[in-house]
């Protein structure tokens, strides 16, 4: 679905944000891009919808080079939800906010209405239909931003730091939501620092450091390797930390999930496993 080939990118300030990145994301995959502040995560995902274009190398979306297509055309396929919803929202009501992009894409008025209602429902925003986005809480504004992108049904959804400022319950809703999108065959890419969230979702993890990809694999493999984690400023999930401290007792170290941890410990403590 997304193919990044040997991409280099330098900002006008001279900062080299990407130094030869190659990445292949298949249709329907769920990928978390992680790494320390300034590692190039956001710069990389902005290449996916053409907001930024490589200075060397190329990015193909659905087989089309991002240089040969406008951001507007790309946006139809690749929806991008920004880290800060205030960088995205501007309309007077939530309803207009969601309708805006649909109108730009030229959807018929009937379809447009149906889709707005659908997106409001999906994200539990129906009661705010006529409210100004700026009257809502931070978490609710984030949901409006998400609704406005999902409304046009893009094949790929990119979420930049979706869990910032969200409480535990909202994170759980977000997690179920991503799983659901993924089950519908959508490709989901999140950029995040939130190791506990990644541990609960268990996506493919792409770890970046200083403009390069330093590790790529399933969450369990990446998050439980203390050497990889330390190099990229990731602190392993708390469950992993507990198991890493007990390594001398013969316990496995590749555990990220609390239910799995319980199961393993019960086997050891009750003596079922010998």
């Amino acid at each position: 679905m997304i193919e990044v080939r040997e991409v280099y990118f330098t900002y006008s300030t001279g900062v080299e944000a990407l130094k030869g990145v190659s990445l292949y994301i298949r249709n329907g995959e769920f990928v978390a891009i992680m790494g320390q502040n300034g590692a190039g995560k956001t710069t990389l995902v902005k290449q996916f919808n053409g907001l930024l274009k490589p200075i060397k190398g190329k990015v193909l979306v659905d087989g089309v080079n991002t240089r040969d297509i406008s951001v507007a055309q790309l946006a139809r396929k690749v929806g991008f939800v920004f880290q800060n919803p205030d960088h995205q929202l501007f309309s007077e009501t939530v309803e207009e906010e969601i309708a805006f992009a649909l109108r730009n894409f030229g959807f018929k008025e009937n379809t447009l209405k149906r889709r707005v209602t659908w997106a409001l429902n999906l994200l539990g925003l129906t009661e705010y239909r006529k409210t100004s986005p700026f009257m809502l809480s931070g978490g609710e504004r984030k949901r409006v931003a998400l609704a406005s992108v999902l409304a046009w049904n893009p094949k790929v959804v990119i979420l930049d730091e979706p869990t910032i400022g969200q409480d535990h319950r909202q994170k759980e809703i977000l997690r179920q939501f991503i799983v659901q999108l993924n089950a519908q065959g959508k490709t989901v890419v999140i950029v995040t620092h939130d190791v506990e969230f990644v541990a609960e979702c268990s996506p493919r993890v792409v770890l970046m450091m200083q403009g390069q990809i330093v590790a790529d694999g399933d969450a369990k493999k990446i998050l439980t390797d203390p050497n990889i984690a330390l190099r990229a400023s990731i602190v392993p999930p708390q469950v992993t930390q507990i198991f890493l401290r007990l390594v001398d007792l013969g316990l496995p170290t590749d555990v990220i999930d609390v239910s799995e941890a319980t199961k393993i410990l019960l086997e050891y403590l009750e003596g079922g496993k010998r």
Binding site: G165, Q166, D167, V235, L249, V258
Partner: protein, 281 residues
């Protein structure tokens, strides 16, 4: 000795139809490290705004009940007076920093208070040292990384030598290692200088090991108030949807399965220690 005391405190923002905090009675002792948490919109930030007088002096609205901070009745003392007792560090340091050098930013609050030049130099040096950013003194804050910026923001507030420091989700824009370093700086201020710390935080896995007092709010009220172990292990915390530390959750799941371990762990160190004992037995 209580440094913050509220009795039946309720507050309604101007134009709002219902109060944002209701009937809050809370005592915070001098030198405590308090974590204040609860679902989005539960009134955490509103309560913090009361502590330094932004409510009611800046936000107006309707405040009822008693509120004493550092021995002062907040309603009777203006913000600039309260600000010398209670320092507030925001979530995003970009909203707070503006000067062309770190040193100037840290000195700004002191200039406003009319602190004398020699004393100002001393305090700036001290605040930079305490937050571990002496080498950044001449740098422009907007060129620094997020973690460095947050340390500058902390130094700015610290230089005013407040009795109480309130941190409103200070690490949410930082990577985990950067976040851990900030928590360690905050912990040092608390343990070495005796500053009373109030930390508003959702990510309890990272922060709870430093706390000796946890307050959970829900729908404007105090839902739970006490020692971290008791709070994280209470059924109410789970029902409200607070993300209790995974170390505590693991302990609970083992208990539900009939494995009893003494004490309630709130960090990976404690959980590992308890499990080590049980596994060796």
């Amino acid at each position: 000795m209580a440094i913050i005391e509220t009795k039946n405190l309720s507050y309604t923002y101007p134009g709002a139809t219902k109060p944002s905090i209701r009937d809050v009675s809370l005592t915070i002792e001098k030198g405590e490290f308090v974590i204040l948490t609860g679902p989005s919109g539960c009134g955490k930030t509103t309560l913090c705004r009361c502590f330094n007088g932004l409510i009611p002096h800046f936000y107006a609205g309707q405040l009822e009940g008693d509120l004493t901070v550092a021995g002062l009745k907040v309603t009777e003392h203006p913000i600039y007076e309260m600000a010398q007792r209670v320092g507030l560090v925001f979530q995003n340091p970009e909203n707070q920093l503006f000067a062309l050098s770190v040193e100037k930013d840290v000195a700004f609050g002191l200039e406003n208070l009319g602190v004398l030049r020699d004393e100002m130099r001393k305090r700036v040096d001290w605040a930079l040292q305490m937050t571990g950013i002496e080498e950044l003194r001449e740098r422009a804050p907007h060129e620094l990384s997020g973690g460095q910026q947050q340390r500058v923001a902390i130094a700015c507030v610290l230089a005013m030598q407040p009795d109480i420091m309130v941190f409103d989700e200070p690490t949410s824009f930082l990577d985990p290692l950067g976040a851990q370093k900030i928590f360690e700086v905050i912990n040092d201020l608390n343990k070495k200088l005796g500053v009373t710390v109030i930390l508003v935080e959702h990510r309890l896995d990272l922060a709870s090991k430093y706390a000796d007092h946890v307050v959970i709010m829900d729908e404007g009220k105090i839902a739970l108030n006490g020692k971290p172990r008791e709070i994280f292990n209470s059924e109410t915390a789970r029902l409200i949807g607070v993300g209790i530390p995974k170390a505590t959750r693991l302990w609970q799941l083992l208990q539900e399965n009939g494995i009893k371990l003494e004490g309630v762990p709130t960090s990976s160190e404690e959980a590992a220690q308890l499990l080590r004992g049980a596994l060796k037995a």
